[in-house]
Amino acid sequence: MSNRVLLLIGTRKGLWLAHRHRGDWEVTGPHLPMAEIYAVAADTRGAPRLLVGASSTHFGPSVVTSDDLGATWQEPEVAPIAFPADTGVALERVWQLAPGPADHPEVVHAGGEPSALFRSEDRGRTFQLVRGLWDHPHRERWEPGFGGQAVHTVLANPHDPDRVVVAMSAGGVYRTEDGGDSWQASNRGIKAYFLPDEYPEFGQCVHKIAQHPAEPERFFLQNHHGVYRSDDGAASWRSIADGLPSDFGFPIVTHPHRPDVVFGFPLTADATRYPPGGRCRVYRSEDAGETWTGLSEGLPDRFWSAVMRDALCTDDADPAGVYFGSRSGEVYAGSDDGDRWERIAAHLPDVLSLRAMSW
């Protein structure tokens, strides 16, 4: 673990910040009380900027930023993300805030509900709708998952700014190679057992995808039943679920430095949505999903909660700190790539999103 870590904890009722310094954690909050925080990001491509997608159930969604590690927050007067008037649509929620490639430090992408991609050229102050995806002929046949119909994952290629991959529930994976003008459904090999055609072109209920900057053609995917890997830039997928106690879950993340290392949090499904046997375990693969190990040191049994799609993350230390938050309002920090865990927060509202920065 590195010396200092700032962990952003987005919950259904506000934002908390956990700061680790010399081994001790200090948790502050609520910041932005009562806002639903589906998306948090720490942009470290220049002076650190925190970005938060905050939705008020009364007063609607917004994006707020902090340039002093959460001491103060700023929000533009006009809505940072809004649909153009000609669409006749209103933004329900921001599901993802994703800083773009390192050599394009002004670019930030946002995924929204209803399913749409937005792009910022001013580091997250203002965003514009990416029309190519909005105008895709499949859009009218994208269906909402239980949580809503949203672009919940945005992965920009670290070396080629024209290449972006998004995922949505339900709709599946789409990719562009021309900066967002045209998009191809990229779901070959991903099962949709709940549809008459079990391998459709699109319509899969993808929960999360992850990418490593050193292997940008490889992706990992947690599906609504199914865990997959792509080695061809998301064009096709194959199962890597063997060795997991369940092929269901929400999050999947890669190690910050080792592209073969990936983490997930399996749940039994569909009849129940608990970790198998009530045992709280992060599963780690060190060989790109060929084999998996359940990490248990410091994690509880009789744990009847779940971890949502953006509530698992790593910091960028090596070995990495790994973090997850539960719907029961607990946050755990794992040191040494997840070998050992400690609970650093409890009794929070249900955790929706986590991101860490370390220095």
């Binding site: 009364h58 007063f59 809004a82 008037a85 933004l91």
Partner: protein, 93 residues
């Protein structure tokens, strides 16, 4: 024509700390009032309406004591001296 918009405590920070806003709408409707608010206080207006100009579901507008949904919604007529009270719903958990 002058209409008064009365704001709850939660929203006053987006109107320079004021409880009451005096508005001279170009169009004699609630929507016309909110169009003026949008130009003067965009951070306030977008908490009252979404970008498609729809009234937010859990924000209520009382025009001289009548909830606008029982009138004509955003098209409800306002007159000189109308008081529009903004009252958020008490729903939520």
């Amino acid at each position: 024509m002058r209409v008064t918009l009365v704001l709850p405590l939660l929203l006053r920070e987006h109107a320079g700390g004021r409880q009451r806003l005096e508005v001279e709408p170009g169009e004699a409707t609630l929507a016309g009032v909110l169009d003026v608010v949008a130009a003067r206080h965009p951070a306030l207006e977008r908490r009252l309406r979404d970008e498609s100009r729809g009234l937010r579901r859990h924000v209520n507008f009382y025009l001289d004591g009548e909830e606008c949904r029982w009138l004509d919604g955003a098209g409800s007529e306002v007159r000189d001296g109308t008081e529009v009270r903004v009252i958020p719903s008490v729903a939520g958990g």
